[in-house]
């Protein structure tokens, strides 16, 4: 499983924002701090009535497709479908770089 690109794209990055780096495979960070094109696995979700129904469930693989301007939402891809999530909500979603074994079936996107 290769991750396409972990180089921060300057245009969309705040300077203090840390990327999920290659050598930190067990780190858990918030979805909000992923870099463009980063892929990660959801570990924890806030209490939400909508997120699970849009495919954002623990164990699912997500990749960051876009970070909107003007402090707008993030766009993530889950199972080939795109979902827009405001930064505050994304800040409460925890993700990890390493795939949890049990979700191998979901991650071959």
């Amino acid at each position: 499983m290769s991750v396409k690109n972990t180089i921060p794209e300057k245009q969309n990055m705040k300077p203090e924002m840390s990327c999920l780096v290659e050598n930190c495979s067990s780190c858990e960070v918030s979805l909000e701090s992923l870099c463009l094109h980063d892929q990660a696995w959801i570990t924890e979700l806030p209490e939400s009535l909508l997120l699970p129904f849009l495919g954002l469930r623990p164990g699912k693989s997500v990749s960051l497709v876009a970070r909107q301007r003007f402090n707008g939402p993030l766009v993530v891809e889950v199972d080939g479908r795109c979902v827009a999530i405001s930064r505050r909500v994304a800040g409460n979603i925890r993700v990890a770089k390493a795939s949890p074994g049990r979700s191998a079936a979901n991650s071959n996107e």
């Binding site: 245009q11 969309n12 939400s48 009535l49 909508l50 997120l51 699970p52 129904f53 849009l54 495919g55 469930r57 497709v65 876009a66 970070r67 909107q68 301007r69 003007f70 402090n71 707008g72 939402p73 766009v75 199972d79 080939g80 479908r81 795109c82 979902v83 827009a84 999530i85 405001s86 505050r88 909500v89 079936a105």
Partner: protein, 594 residues
């Protein structure tokens, strides 16, 4: 048991397309979440039995957290009847739904085959109700294109209910669906309620999904459609492309409309129809009051035809052609996401762009579409923006007719003024009502290439609505105007309103008439100005007053129905006050400058 069948499923899976196909009705269909905002019901003829099919707004679960989910649950359990339920069509058409007191005869559960896993949770919840359920595996053409394969037999085996692959837009599979439905309502369907006993959980969903879903191509390259879908969703190149799309849309609406008007409709009416009418009227009537009412200055056989059919109709056609394309392509939610950050600053989510765009067609669907917005505050902001300064397409056509010949800058200034007013109102309301900023969580639909046949049908439907709900009242309005003008009543009305119209707004006294007619239809505040020789400043004042002035009767009625009489009266007061206040101020400032 009664004879209703419910159409249930996640949003944007094609329920309304299936509903239209099965009942022959025409409820709104569009490629984004939350198109259907009210219940629609229609008769469905099955072999030997008639049933009532109900199109339920899409929901994600049955947890009763929002209005749509509550309605779905009530319908499922057969306890509905507490609410005023009606179908929301365009321009006020509606069908009352009779109160349902029994549980439905069957459920038609619609799945997007390309989104199987997420669809299963709600399906398992529906199965708990132990009603006959039939599953339509819809959008199977799109799933196939993506290389997804869903095995209907495996799925059916897992769920214990029939599963039928369909392509709603072409009608594929719908006959089989009807045949199965027929068995179900006659109680001859083998139903296996095994699933109903089990707990609904995502693990079970994943289990069923794994058994029924496979992928054809191991690593298929993204289709062109998907690549464009992504491009339009990213700020680069999405934002510049958004600006381009909006400019292009405006260009098409105005260009196509002008072309139709100038080269097709006006020559047709002025060259062929009107001379004939004039000749006939001259022959049949003596010169005098009656003849003047028919073909004089406001002659309603002339203006009553020219205004609605030659000046406004072209823009109705061009606007809805463009809007239907945007709706069906799935571009509107993308625009909403790109603009979300900016919209947040005026207290809205980016998806507010959808009702605003609808409002440029007609305020009624815009008001109805606000039902899907998260908070009451967002609803209020959008409704106020739409009522105060979003001209409906008929009024826009009138503005173009009034201003495009004499002064394009005035036309641009009027629209600019409208946008400034909208932002100002939103900023003010956002300050006034304190609340947490809205949090967006939104599914972005796949980009689809709209089918020409469907676009033509949508435009035709809206034109039909316009003729029934727009053009006819306009003819009546012109008739009233002709009568007032020819009998001299207009002059005395002008005299009464003189202080306001002449002294404050600086318009000729007869401009009192459009102000009265404007309550009937928005464009009637503008069109009569065509017949008066106005200076540039008067044109600007007249157009600005027309823009801010009261929404039409039908809009007021919709507001009352949706949000109560207080909201409707509030909007009336706000729009009237702002129209006269701003009109007067523009007149004063303008006289100073010019």
């Amino acid at each position: 048991m009664n004879d209703t069948v419910l159409l249930i499923g996640l949003p944007n899976v094609g329920k309304s397309v299936i509903f239209n196909r099965l009942t022959g009705l025409n409820v709104s269909v569009a490629n984004y979440v939350g198109t259907t905002v009210g219940l629609a019901s229609g008769r469905l003829h099955l072999d030997g039995k008639d049933v009532t099919l109900i199109d339920v707004p899409g929901t994600y679960s049955l947890q009763s957290t929002c209005e749509a989910e509550k309605v779905a649950v009530e319908l499922l359990r057969g306890s509905c009847g507490s609410k005023k339920l009606y179908a929301a069509g365009h321009c006020g058409s509606r069908t009352e739904i009779k109160r349902e007191t029994d549980s439905p005869a069957a459920i038609l559960y619609v799945i997007d085959a390309g989104n199987l896993e997420n669809s299963l949770y709600l399906l398992l919840q529906v199965l708990q109700e132990k009603l006959p359920v039939i599953v339509a595996l819809n959008r199977s053409d799109l799933a196939r294109e993506k290389g997804h394969r869903v095995d209907p037999e495996a799925l059916s085996g897992e769920l214990g209910v029939p599963v039928i692959p369909t392509v709603a837009v072409t009608g594929e599979g719908l006959e089989e669906l009807k045949a199965t439905l027929c068995l179900a309502v006659k109680g001859r369907l083998n139903v296996n309620h095994e699933q109903a006993g089990k707990v609904v959980h995502w693990d079970r969903v994943a289990d069923i999904y794994r058994k029924a879903w496979t992928r054809d191509r191991a690593d298929s390259k993204d289709s062109r459609r998907k690549q464009w879908g992504m491009r339009l969703t990213r700020p680069w190149p999405g934002l510049p492309l958004a600006a381009l799309t909006i400019a292009l849309t405006l260009g098409i609406v105005i260009g196509l409309g002008l072309g139709l008007r100038q080269y097709v409709l006006l020559p047709f009416f002025r060259g062929l129809v009107f001379p004939g009418i004039e000749r006939a009227v001259m022959q049949m009537t003596e010169p005098g009051l009656l003849q003047n009412i028919l073909i004089g200055e406001y002659g309603f056989l002339i203006k009553g035809i020219e205004w609605p059919f030659a000046l406004v109709l072209p823009y109705v056609i061009s606007f809805y052609a463009a809007l239907s394309f945007l709706e069906d392509s799935g571009y509107m939610p993308r625009l909403g996401i790109l603009l979300d950050g900016l919209f947040n600053r005026i207290g809205l989510q980016g998806t507010g762009v959808i009702p605003l765009l609808l409002g440029y067609g007609c305020a009624i669907p815009a008001i109805l579409a606000t039902r899907t917005l998260g908070s009451g505050k967002e609803r209020l902001i959008i409704i106020t923006m739409v009522c105060i300064a979003v001209p409906c397409i008929a009024q826009t056509g009138a503005f173009i007719a009034l201003l495009s010949v004499s002064s394009i800058p005035v036309m641009l200034a009027v629209f600019l003024l409208g946008w400034v007013a909208m932002i100002a109102v939103a900023l003010f309301l956002n300050r006034l009502i304190k609340s947490d900023p809205p949090e967006m969580v939104l599914e972005i639909p796949d980009l689809l290439l709209p089918r020409p046949g469907i676009l033509v049908k949508k435009v035709w439907l809206r034109v039909k609505h316009y003729i029934a709900d727009g053009a006819l009242p306009m003819v009546v309005g012109v008739c009233i105007a002709a009568f007032l003008y020819e009998t001299g009543l207009m002059a005395s009305l002008g005299l009464t309103l003189q202080p306001l119209v002449v002294s404050w707004l600086g318009l000729p006294a007869e401009a009192a008439v459009p102000l009265m007619l404007g309550i009937l239809r928005r464009e009637l505040t503008v069109l009569p100005l065509l017949e008066m020789d106005l200076t540039t400043l008067q044109l600007f004042v007249g157009a600005a007053v027309g823009l801010f002035y009261v929404p039409c009767i039908a809009v007021i009625a919709t507001l009352t129905r949706e949000y109560g009489i207080r909201m409707a009266l509030g909007m009336l007061l706000l729009t009237t006050a702002s129209a006269f206040l701003l009109g007067g101020i523009i007149n004063r400032l303008g006289s100073l400058v010019l």
